[in-house]
Assembly symmetry: C2
């Protein structure tokens, strides 16, 4: 009970955080095979390398690392991050257009803080990442879903929604999308950047999975086509080094970065220096590219295995075939209910995330999200067998 | 320039972040003696100890540390933190009433997020900590100053303000206050907790300096008198271990902690595990108490030296005589202007923070804040000599 006479802020009216939390609570049970979550494989977390790096940086520059840092970032990391981004992308990046963040969750929070008043409309993919939907809901934004096909957001639907709803933001995960695993087609990217400039909204491009590509060619981000500052790009080291370190970054127009920096002064003052220094050494010691190549091998194998397993699921089972990332999205026939079946699945030893949580309007109970990165080959075989039998019995 | 058609959120209308930033920019100049900032002494930052701890924890529990963590905190740290708090305070503390935060700045942000709607009134000391005033302003709260004397907030003024303004929160730094260095008298603490319960507002007790006591006896926090959940206590390891690690905590009513936890899911998901694990080892290895005792010796010496130097400042100079913390607050005669004199002081090689920035209503240009922790004995002697001569010439 809240103490007498107190009340919570109205930004929580639509946010309970409860349903999905109940799901994640069961993941700790012994012998649970979890296709829920979006965790990297434990094998992919370089703790020995980080142990040595952490020690090295605290001995070499420990006084600066343990002291208050600049909101703008730990200077060596800002430098190596700018170099890394400049060598990764075709568009210019500078200290003035980059801000380290405490994971890209905090980047999302800062962009919302900078841009959104209560009631402002934000266009989102449908389905989309539930965590950032919660952040958007905490800013009391009006979420309007835009329809996607296998090539991502449909341009005609997007433009119609822009004209009808006059959004402040479009929130989009263009590459190996969460939860769908889909990738926005290359030829839809420039038109989205142009549309943002034409109609005056900000594209928030959330791109944490881009380096986890298991086949096909890299595609330039929407940000690469941004001539006018209408695209803010959010990147993260969570999926390619460690989520527990909480280091991400955003790239945006200088004035947007400035506003987010002022917002960040009031949120966490700065991303912890030690965590920035560890990622900095990953970049300076040129450990990142080989590490990504190394973790990609088992991830590809697990993805392909899960796709193979899905081939023998009951007739009417549809699923995405991602070129990378961490997720496969499954759509069962309309009569199937993945939400109500969840408890039974858990009792049988397998967890997934019911797809309904990824839809701004709910519904879509016939869908679910499967993660393959955080299970072993054996767990995938065993867990998919259990799911197949369960789905066959409940279709 | 913000890209065409975009606009920033109205929460920034009263927040520019610029004046104080300009001040902090000059601190990087070579040979600058800085009495600005609130930084621990470089000598007080235990980087070698942290280097070994960081390596140890990443080798011993690195997979869990580098993986996504719980918003509720890194489990070993939550355990050791609860034990530490239970042995420090007389009131009960449990896992359900504690939340690790990314520095207490993030604790403040989360409490505002949980409790404040735009336009809600927050009572603050006058002067008070400018950083958290910025956080409060970003939540568009209506800041109402309450008068203090040498024993902190005056109870009759506080009750009158509560009755008149019906505040949602009282934000208060009871011990070695920032910027004044004053401590709220022991016999004013219980009445404030009772007043919060009677009138239905939340006391946000910000207590990062309490362990930096150089004389006198510990005083129980306001939270110790809280029978009803109307006090939220924010603590921090920034001043006693490292601000760059960004680890703090809050203690509050279970439902308030729950709401802040949901808010934190959308802000940074969790405080980085590694940083929590380092503080955890400080507690488990019983390094904290001896470290605090060790850093207190030079801090006491520096405080006393700065007070001695102030004794010979021009007639009419008033200043606080703190029993601990990091700051002395100076009040010059009304005709003196510490704000306009700042540039000249910097040209002479000494920086301070003009007091005006700590007042919700501005003004008070005859005041300034001096920090003694982050300068050497020689710098204090030299810097105070420069200030004395400058003030004599400008009084």
């Amino acid at each position: 009970m809240i103490p007498e006479g107190l009340s919570f802020a109205s930004r929580f009216d639509k946010v309970t955080g409860s349903a999905i939390r109940e799901i994640f609570k069961v993941l700790g049970r012994p012998n649970m095979i979890s296709f829920a979550g979006g965790n990297p494989s434990m094998d992919a977390l370089p703790n020995e390398v980080c142990a040595n790096i952490a020690r090295d940086v605290l001995l070499a520059d420990g006084k600066r690392i343990l002291q208050y840092g600049a909101t703008e970032g730990y200077p060596p990391f800002v430098e190596s991050l700018v170099d890394y981004l400049a060598s990764t992308f075709t568009f210019p990046v500078s200290k003035q257009t980059v801000l380290p963040t405490t994971g890209s969750t905090s980047g999302m929070d800062l962009i919302c803080k900078a841009m959104l008043n209560p009631g402002d409309t934000v266009l989102v993919e449908s389905p989309t990442f539930l965590g950032n939907m919660q952040t958007l809901n905490l800013y009391q934004s009006n979420l309007v879903p835009v329809e996607s096909d296998d090539d991502g957001v449909m341009l005609d639907k997007l433009e119609a929604a822009v004209i009808e709803h006059k959004p402040k933001l479009l929130y989009i995960i263009p590459t190996f999308q969460n939860p769908s695993g889909r990738t926005l087609a290359a030829d839809r990217r420039e038109p989205i950047a142009k549309m943002a400039a034409k109609y005056g909204f900000l594209v928030v491009e959330d791109d944490p999975y881009r380096d986890l590509r298991y086949c096909g060619e890299d595609i330039a981000p929407i940000k690469a086509y941004d001539q006018t500052g209408h695209v803010a790009y959010m990147g993260s080291f969570s999926k390619i080094i460690s989520p527990g370190l909480r280091v991400g970054y955003m790239i945006a127009n200088e004035d947007i970065i400035r506003k987010c920096t002022i917002g960040k002064q009031g949120t966490d003052l700065h991303t912890p220096n030690l965590n920035q220094a560890i990622i900095d050494q990953f970049l300076r010691r040129q450990l990142l590219a080989p590490h990504i190549a190394e973790i990609g091998v088992p991830y590809r194998e697990k993805l392909n295995l899960m796709l193979d397993e899905l081939d023998s699921f009951p007739k009417g089972t549809k699923y995405t075939r991602p070129d990378g990332g961490l997720f496969i999205f499954v759509e069962m026939p309309e009569t199937f209910n993945a939400t109500t079946l969840f408890d039974t699945a858990v009792e049988s030893g397998v967890a997934y995330v019911p797809g309904t949580f990824f839809y701004p309007d709910g519904g879509h109970h016939n869908t679910l999200r499967l993660n393959f990165s955080n299970s072993t080959i054996d767990q995938i075989k065993q867990g998919m067998k259990i799911l197949r039998e369960l789905f066959e019995a409940n279709i």
